[in-house]
């Protein structure tokens, strides 16, 4: 099946700075894709190129098999939810939502029906006559969403739509997005710098760094099998142990040799903190922990559902372990960190 | 991006045309004229500094007097404007907006009317003398109120004050209350806060207020003509008369440019002094 959105060698620079290196990307019908990266990585430029607000320097963009590279935004089957919402301050909520339909000359009765439907979907059915200035941040956010959704776009583009909201509202809106995506279907492309948001919303994440897509996969894939040191560090917390790999074994910089297939030469061994088990006596570690490392406890913090132990390995690297119960560990204690090599990821450094 | 720049340059075209054709070009031409001469009532192109020499020899004392009185007026006006704006921003509470509104009311409307009103207020039978006599403070009218440098100072200060308040108030509004609280929290006393924060913040607005008043005052001729006496001849009168009955535009041009240049120097000096005074130190 042909992809709904296809980017072929699309690149963009501003003056001497490159915002997006030529990249290709295929997004299928019904996907909820998140483009994730730190600020300045080119993710918003990428989204704005799909929306038609930025013309690429090279490459082409296809939507539904048709080349739209040079088409202005009003001629594209995409609609965007803007970071600052971009609501029309001189129109009411309903007028905002109806605007695109009026431009498209949708008949009045049909228009009223679709606006009501859209307001219903975002649960603001009673506020159609309100001025947008009288809305709260979360409500404005939802009006911006309704204004785009009422157009029934083939692709809905969302540019950091939740960044202006506080944490509680952000979590509630994430739930709303999931519900609305399930209800209306369609393809959503969602730009964010918040990895937790990307993980909780998207079925597919493209991680961007310095204008390149450095990894593209399911949230679980990206968490468990980060393709680079950057991805490992950006998505969740990770222990990064440097070393040298050869013959299915890894010699970490502290001298310890652990089993581990992967690259030859300098490597980074990525171990998620929840995969680490700590024990004062190495013999007490469970059998599946076939990789072991000596370390000194630096701090133990009780967080409720979990206990966070920061450690320093004998080679001086900082390490972190998350466990469900607090052991009798205190700062200064000598411990053995153990994990299953099945849970580690060895990446060429 | 390139598209946007192209649209922008088209949109700028009419504005820039007005600037170039009706301001830069006339002013440059007028400057060139200051090196010309008038012979047998006709303007002759030349490259002489004769007009400039005349400005300093024949009108030197008038120029100095004009600059002195203009500097005095600009200083007084900027000081009152600062005090008023400061009061509106920090002291007046909810009346602050109303007091600023009041200065807006008097901003435009009646350049001539204001000068003329001061003439009647300060006149022998005018409001001020009548009031002073009614209160029994003076037995007869004080003639020195009108046709004196005092009248010029009062009138021009009144005219320029609203224009001077606005930039100062605008600058003070940019200073938020938390910055002042932070300074207090860090141990700054009242006078320190005044110098390090308020004066530093108001510097731009204060300089603008001073410069505006100085330039308007130094080049005004209606006020000295209407309310100034024979002792308050200002350079504006002589500039104006070169285009009236004396028909010597080269000399008028030279006078105008010398006056502007002197104003520029005065503003520069003030601006550097204020900067040195309020410069943040580490």
């Amino acid at each position: 099946m042909a992809p709904l959105v296809e980017l072929v060698g699309v690149g963009k620079g501003y003056g001497s700075a490159t915002a997006v290196h030529p990249l290709s990307l295929r997004i299928g019908e019904g996907e909820f894709v998140s483009i994730l990266g730190p600020s300045g990585c080119g993710k918003t430029t990428l989204l704005r190129m799909i929306g038609g607000f930025v013309t690429p320097d090279e490459g082409s963009i296809l939507i539904d098999g048709r080349d739209v590279t040079r088409k202005p935004p009003e001629k594209r089957a995409t609609n965007m939810v803007f970071q600052g919402y971009g609501l029309f301050p001189h129109m009411t909520v309903a007028q905002n939502v109806a605007y695109g339909l009026r431009i498209a000359r949708v008949a009045r009765t049909e228009r009223a029906r679709r606006v009501a439907e859209a307001l219903d979907l975002i649960r603001l059915a009673d506020l159609g006559d309100r001025a947008v200035s009288a809305l709260s941040g979360g409500q404005r956010q939802r009006v911006a969403l309704a204004r785009a959704l009422v157009m029934r776009p083939r692709v809905l583009l969302l540019d950091e739509p939740l960044s202006a909201l506080d944490l509680k509202l952000r979590l509630a809106m994430q739930e709303e997005f999931r519900r609305i995506h399930a209800q209306v279907g369609g393809t959503f492309i969602f730009v964010t710098h918040d990895q937790a948001e990307a993980m909780s919303l998207a079925s597919r994440i493209c991680v961007m760094e310095a204008g390149r897509i450095v990894q593209d996969g399911t949230p679980e894939d990206i968490y468990r099998r980060p393709a680079s040191r950057f991805v490992a560090g950006f998505i969740g917390e990770a222990n990064l142990f440097e070393g040298v790999g050869s013959d299915e074994r890894v010699r970490l910089s502290c001298g310890t040799v652990i089993p581990g297939a992967g690259a030859e030469g300098p490597i980074v061994c990525v171990v998620r903190p929840e995969a680490v088990t700590l024990a004062a006596d190495p013999a007490a570690l469970p059998d599946q922990c076939d990789a072991r490392l000596f370390a000194t406890v630096e701090d133990v913090v009780f967080l409720g559902p979990e206990v966070r132990t920061t450690l320093r390995t004998d080679s001086g690297a900082q390490a972190l372990a998350l466990s469900r119960t607090a052991g009798p560990l205190r700062p200064g204690d000598r411990v053995t960190m153990g994990w299953a090599t099945a849970d580690q990821q060895v990446i060429a450094a | 991006m390139r598209q946007a720049l192209r649209t922008a340059s088209f949109q700028l075209l009419p504005g820039l045309a007005i600037l170039a054709g009706l301001f830069l070009l006339p002013l440059s031409y007028f400057f060139v004229v200051s090196f010309w001469q008038v012979r047998t009532f006709r303007l002759r192109p030349d490259a002489t500094l004769e007009q400039y020499a005349r400005v300093f020899t024949e009108y030197g004392s008038t120029l100095a007097w004009t600059l002195a009185i203009a500097t005095l007026i600009a200083t007084v006006t900027a000081a009152i404007a600062f005090a008023y704006a400061h009061y509106c921003r920090f002291r007046a509470g909810r009346f602050g907006d109303g007091l600023i509104f009041l200065s807006l009311v008097t901003l435009f409307g009646g350049y001539l009317a204001k000068i003329y009103m001061w003439k009647t207020i300060l006149g022998g039978t005018g409001a001020l003398n009548s009031a002073l006599m009614a209160l029994g403070l003076t037995s007869g009218p004080i003639p020195a109120l009108l046709f004196s440098p005092f009248a010029v100072i009062v009138t021009l200060t009144h005219y320029c004050l609203p224009l001077a308040i606005l930039p100062v108030y605008g600058a003070l509004r940019g200073l938020d209350d938390t910055a002042i609280e932070a300074a207090r929290d860090l141990g700054a006393s009242g006078p320190r806060i005044f110098r390090d924060l308020i004066l530093a913040q108001a510097r731009g607005g204060l300089t603008a207020a001073f410069a505006l008043t100085l330039v308007i005052t130094a080049a005004d001729y209606v006020t000295p003509l209407m309310v100034g006496g024979p002792s308050s001849n200002m350079i504006g009168l002589f500039i104006q008369s070169q285009f009236g009955n004396r028909l010597n535009s080269p000399l008028g041009s030279a006078m105008a440019f010398v006056t502007i240049a002197c104003c520029g120097l005065i503003v520069l000096t003030l601006s550097l002094t204020l900067r040195a005074l309020t410069r943040p130190r580490t």
């Binding site: 803007f82 971009g86 498209a104 | 922008a8 007005i18 009706l22 435009f108 207020i121």
Partner: protein, 255 residues
Amino acid sequence: MRSMAHIGAALTAIFMLSPLVILVIFCFSESPLLAFPIEGWSLRWFDKAFSDPQFTNAFRNSMIVTGAVGVTSTLTGTLAALALAKLPPRLATATAAALSLPVMVPPLLLGVALLTFYSTWIGLPLGLPAVILSHLVFTQPLVMLMISARMASFDHAAVEAARDLGASPIQSFFHVTLPMIGPSITGGTLIAMALSLDDFLVTFFTIGGGMTLPTLMWGMLRKGIDPSVNVVAVTIMGLSIAATLIGFRLTRYRG
């Protein structure tokens, strides 16, 4: 200390306002002498001024100049402000500074420079068209600055959203940009008109033989005491203050 500040501010306010108040009072005074106490009230000076053909003529000329200056400087100033919003910040600042240069030049210098330019170089006859052109120089930057101030807080995403929803560039300008900056444009226009209406110096040098309200007033002042000059002054003042206040109100300008 506190009460000193209150008294100082009150005195300043009285100082600023009293000449205007006294002028209005004199307009309604029966006596031709401008002195207190006022002995009787009448509207005769209004009758006298308004029935004077010179006044009607000057009023008409003032309206022509103000109207033409208002429309033209609004067009060029608004276009310039829209362009500034598109330029890179440093270029925009430099361009705005260049366009505002005329505001920093004293009107006397502007007047005599334009007089010399018109009459000895390009041969433009003095008169109302010359006055209108001259007023554009100092009113255009005001309109531009007031609209630029609005554009600084303008939500560009709203225009992009309109494009995204299918509006063409022209549609998005008329549906979104214009309604959003409209009040500022009207405000800028009114303030430009107030400035043009009140201008005496530049008009005086470029009008030749004709008259606007300020030059009429000047003529009356030079001739001697005619109390209907108060009415002319009040007309100029009333019109320009009204325009300024509505203008500032619309632009929500505060300092």
